[in-house]
């Protein structure tokens, strides 16, 4: 679906943000790109919808080089939800806000109405249909932004730091929502530094540091590799840290999930299972 081949990117200011990144994202995958601020995560995903074009190397979406397509053309397939919803909200009503992109992409009136209806329902925003997006709370504005992207049903959904400022309940709802979208066949790419959230989602994890990918694999593998995590300035999940400290008692070293941890400890401490 998305092929990145030896991508280099240098900002006009001279900063080299990406230094030889190669990555393949298959249709329907769920991927988390992690790394500290400045590692190049956002720079990388901005190549997926053409906002940035490679300095050298190539990025292909569905086999077509992104340099041959405009941002609007690429966005039709690759929808990006930005970190700050306030960078996009400008319409008088939530309804208009959701239809904005649909109008830009040339959908007809009837389809627009249906899609808006669908998006409002999907994100529980029906009661705000005629409200101004600016008077809604922070969490509600994030939902409007998400709804406005889902409305045009892109095949790929990119979420840039979706958990910032969210409380636990909101994160849980988001997690289930993402898993549902992925189950329906959408390719989901999440840029984040929230390691606990990623551990809960259990996607494929790509670690970036200093403009390069330093790890790429299942969450269980990557998030338990302390050495690489340290290179990327990521703190391992608490469960993984715990199991690492009790490794000498024979506990497995690839645990990131809370319930798996509970069941293992339960068996050992209550059930008397010898390790």
């Amino acid at each position: 679906m998305i092929e990145v081949d030896n991508l280099f990117y240098r900002y006009p200011s001279g900063v080299e943000a990406l230094r030889g990144v190669s990555l393949e994202i298959r249709r329907g995958e769920f991927l988390a790109i992690m790394g500290k601020n400045g590692a190049g995560k956002t720079t990388l995903v901005k190549h997926f919808n053409g906002l940035l074009k490679p300095t050298s190397g190539s990025v292909k979406v569905d086999g077509v080089d992104t340099r041959e397509l405009s941002v609007a053309e690429l966005s039709r397939k690759v929808g990006m939800v930005f970190q700050n919803p306030d960078h996009q909200l400008f319409c008088e009503t939530v309804e208009e806000e959701i239809s904005f992109a649909l109008k830009n992409f040339g959908f007809d009136e009837e389809t627009i109405e249906k899609r808006v209806e669908w998006a409002l329902h999907l994100l529980d925003l029906e009661r705000y249909r005629k409200s101004s997006p600016l008077v809604l709370s922070g969490g509600e504005r994030k939902r409007v932004a998400l709804a406005s992207v889902l409305a045009w049903d892109p095949e790929v959904l990119i979420l840039d730091e979706p958990t910032i400022g969210q409380d636990q309940r909101q994160k849980e709802i988001l997690r289930q929502f993402i898993l549902q979208l992925n189950a329906q066949g959408k390719t989901v790419v999440m840029v984040t530094h929230d390691v606990e959230f990623v551990a809960e989602c259990n996607p494929r994890v790509v670690l970036m540091s200093d403009g390069r990918i330093i790890a790429d694999g299942a969450a269980k593998t990557v998030l338990t590799d302390f050495k690489t995590l340290r290179e990327a300035s990521i703190i391992p999940p608490q469960i993984t840290q715990l199991f690492s400290s009790i490794a000498k008692y024979g506990f497995p070293q690839d645990v990131i999930d809370l319930w798996e941890a509970k069941s293992i400890l339960h068996d050992v401490l209550l059930g008397g299972k010898v390790r």
């Binding site: 969210q166 300035s233 400290s245 941890a261």
Partner: protein, 283 residues
């Protein structure tokens, strides 16, 4: 006498139909490190704005009940007077830095109160030292990273030498490593006697530092006590507060019948409890 005391504090924003704070009462002792948390919209941000008088003086609205900070009733003193006792640090460091150089910005508050230059220089030096940004003094704020900017914001507030430091989600815009560095710095300040009120969602990062937790929901304080006491129940989770994973893990194990000597807040504490449990079983 507690350094902060609230009695039946109720507040409604101007133009709002329902109160954002309902009958809030609590006490904070000098030198405590307090965590104020709760689901989005619970009123914690509103409460922290009361602590330095932004509510009611800047925001207006209707405030009833009492809030006494450092011996001063907030309704009876202007913000600029309360600012000498309570420093408030906000979420976005970018919007707390005004000047074009770090040093000048840290001096901003001191210039406002008309301090003489010699004394200002001493205070600014101290603030830069304590926040570890002495080498950034001539830099322009726009060139700094989020973590560095947040330190500058904190330095600017510390220069006023308040007894209380209130921080409203100061790590929001920082990555976990940046967050830990800031929190470690705040903990050190607390150990030197500064009373800290921290508003945070990310309990996994902050629980290890705090000794007093207040959880709010829908404008009221619903839980108030020591972290280990409060976090051993599932009530915080039901309210929408995310406990540290290890704490949650041990709560679940406790529900299954296992007994532990303590409630862990960090992986280190948790591993010690596991070791003790294994040794006990071994006997």
């Amino acid at each position: 006498m507690p350094i902060i005391e609230a009695r039946n504090l109720t507040y409604t924003y101007p133009g709002s139909s329902s109160p954002s704070l309902r009958d809030v009462s609590f006490k904070v002792e000098r030198g405590e490190f307090v965590l104020l948390t709760g689901p989005s919209g619970c009123g914690k941000t509103t409460l922290c704005r009361c602590l330095n008088g932004l509510i009611p003086h800047f925001y207006g609205g209707t405030l009833s009940g009492e809030l006494i900070v450092s011996g001063l009733k907030i309704t009876e003193h202007p913000i600029h007077e309360l600012a000498l006792h309570v420093g408030l640090v906000f979420q976005n460091p970018e919007n707390q830095i005004f000047a074009l150089s770090v040093e000048k910005d840290v001096a901003f508050g001191l210039e406002n109160i008309g301090m003489d230059r010699e004394e200002m220089r001493r205070r600014v030096e101290w603030a830069l030292e304590v926040t570890g940004i002495k080498d950034l003094r001539d830099r322009a704020p726009h060139e700094l990273s989020g973590g560095q900017q947040q330190r500058v914001a904190i330095a600017g507030v510390l220069a006023m030498r308040p007894e209380i430091l209130v921080l409203d989600e100061p790590t929001s815009f920082l990555d976990p490593l940046g967050a830990v560095r800031i929190l470690e710095m705040i903990k050190k300040l607390n150990e030197e006697g500064l009373t800290i009120i921290l508003i945070e969602h990310r309990l996994d990062l902050v629980s290890r530092y705090v000794d007093h937790v207040m959880i709010m929901n829908e404008g009221s304080i619903v839980l108030d006590g020591r972290p280990r006491e409060l976090f051993q129940s599932s009530y915080p989770e039901l309210l929408g507060v995310g406990l540290p994973k290890v704490t949650k893990l041990f709560n679940m194990l406790r529900n299954d019948g296992l007994n532990f000597k303590d409630v862990p807040l960090t992986p280190e504490e948790a591993s010690r409890l596991v070791e003790e449990a294994l040794h006990d079983r071994g006997r």
